[in-house]
Symmetry: C2
Subunit: 346 residues, 2 copies
């Protein structure tokens, strides 16, 4: 591990050299650039966000484009505003002096602490929540954003920006391990070789070596194969009877396929948010008494640990990086079949 | 309780008087009457079943018609053979002398004890299983049937035939309590006012009084209402945010309705085996992290106890009884909207 961390630190130094110092803004600035979804997407000059008490004003360093950003453009969640929910940034202003000037990542659900679900310790399901760049809250494809201080996690010094920006989707992968016990001999199938599928496969690979990731793209699967994780093309036969099948396909075909592969009393984890309805023969999960679990946002702490230790390796997944000024083009590129993660540098 | 049991015993005596002694067959008989599904259904004279070692030959006293029998006629499971899986009968012949001459009910899954799922202590999911009147095994709408001795449970003396014949579907209702903990303040919605819905509502009513059964038929709901169980017509507004929703509708609309009613991180139990595909918007259970559990056959012990104590009261659900000779007509009647349970007396 030590060698790996050293290598990351070296890479980070290199990164700073080729990137150069980042643009800084002084006080008294009233507008900023942001990628705004309002029907279509456009880069706009918008008012600087104002932090409420308990919130931090964060200068965004790097942001990641997620499939959800693409779904939002298509009308998912009926969102309008600044897109983006994966970021790393510097705290410019806040109440807590320990956070000021620190490099942070942030949980995306901003909650009320008062509603029934907050009281039941399920704050992610807060009835009055706003969600960064997804629901009633401006997001991270901008020079600045605000988030409650309680949502922030310090980014470990040893992880460079373009790695730690994966904290949010990696946390979403770790959510599975909060929801079900994963035994070290569990037979696991991860459906989908996209960004989330690869994160889930890597996270669960640390729990069970009886795992295969199934996808449609040989070049994407090769990224996992190079980490020693077994992979299979969708067209290849897969052993049925899996204990756990995770649907990360992002397509309506994922869940029916999961039903074919899971064993009786096995578990299907649904990670795919498909807007269109899926036709499902429900007698199969009834007769086989399958357990199906929806799964969304997860814990940042194990995610940051995995990114620090390199037990989840995201570097091969970064295909392209763009400055914020090219954000519209970057978002377009993120949809292309030859692309994995696209990053924005502010 | 004591008074209730006494009343049952009195009713039973009365029952024997009005029913009269049952027809007995002597040894050496080679054929019997049975309701056979083979494309269509017909009452036929078929060979007497022969018991294998470890099996019991059972003379059927009473059998119950289940919605699954109707689905089987429509092609579900591609079954052909003698229909019927809910029964009470007398053991005519077997290896175990303690069972001979006893009145029994029987579990319907006949398992191999060797396959992976039997080894994992999930015999209901045995890969080589036969299922009484459902899968590769002749059923109970006949004068005789055979079942492994290990499948049999003695029918308590105090329960009359037309009550104890509900053991199998009542066990299916109790399956839920094996799969999830049901707390005494859990908000529960049971969707469906049919036979299974009413059994599930009665079983779960013993766990939580924060329950409502939702159905389409005022007269069926009245049967539950008379036991003090809250009911609502499908058209009435129902409070959302249930901890547990059980779909017993037997219709494709049940699951989408369950998704509307369940709370985030709540549980949907699927009891409906609908052959036709259902269109489902899967992003809802993902965002709300809903748990969905298929649920099939259950434990006979608590079912027999509940039927004995009257904590599940099935008598109001018995609409009509027919002799086996009228089985074709009985099966037709069981589909009618003004009918709940139809019984066959052999």
């Amino acid at each position: 591990m030590g060698a790996h961390v050293r290598e990351l630190v070296q890479k980070q130094s290199y990164w700073f050299i080729i990137e150069g110092p980042r643009r800084r803004k002084g006080k008294g600035i009233t507008t900023m650039r942001a990628l705004v979804l309002d029907g279509g997407v456009a880069l706009k000059e918008v008012p600087m966000p104002k932090r409420a008490p308990g919130e931090a004003l964060i200068r965004v360093l790097t942001a990641g484009i997620c499939n959800t950003d693409i779904e939002l453009q298509k009308g998912y969640m009926h969102f309008s505003g600044i897109l983006g929910h994966e970021f790393v940034g510097m705290v410019e202003d806040c109440d807590n002096p320990a956070l000021k000037g620190k490099r942070v990542v942030g949980e995306i659900n901003c909650v009320c602490h008062r509603c029934a679900y907050c009281q039941m310790e399920m704050p992610h399901h807060c009835l009055d929540r706003t969600v960064l760049g997804i629901q009633n809250r401006n997001g991270a494809f901008a020079e600045y954003l605000t988030l409650p201080e309680e949502n922030l996690h310090l980014a470990p010094n040893s992880i460079r920006d373009d790695v730690v920006v994966f904290a949010e989707p990696t946390a979403a992968a770790f959510r599975i391990t909060e929801q079900i016990p994963v035994a070290n001999n569990d037979q696991i199938v991860v459906l989908g070789d996209g960004k989330l599928g690869q994160l889930v496969a890597q996270v669960l690979w640390n729990y069970s070596k009886n795992l295969v990731c199934v996808g449609r793209h040989a070049w994407k699967l090769d990224l996992l194969r190079s980490s020693g994780i077994p992979v299979a093309l969708q067209s290849e036969p897969i052993e049925r009877g899996a204990d756990i099948v995770v649907d990360c396909t992002g397509s309506p075909g994922g869940f029916p396929r999961a039903l074919e592969l899971v064993r009786p009393e096995g578990t299907i984890i649904l990670k795919t948010t498909v807007a269109q309805p899926t036709a499902i023969e429900l007698s199969i999960p009834v007769v086989d008494e399958v357990r199906i679990l929806g799964s969304r946002c997860g814990p940042f702490r194990p995610a940051l640990e995995a990114l620090t230790l390199g037990t989840v390796n995201v570097t091969p997944m970064i295909t392209e990086s763009y400055p914020l000024s090219d954000a519209v083009q970057a978002l377009k590129r993120a949809e292309a079949p030859d692309v994995m993660k696209v990053l924005l540098h502010m």
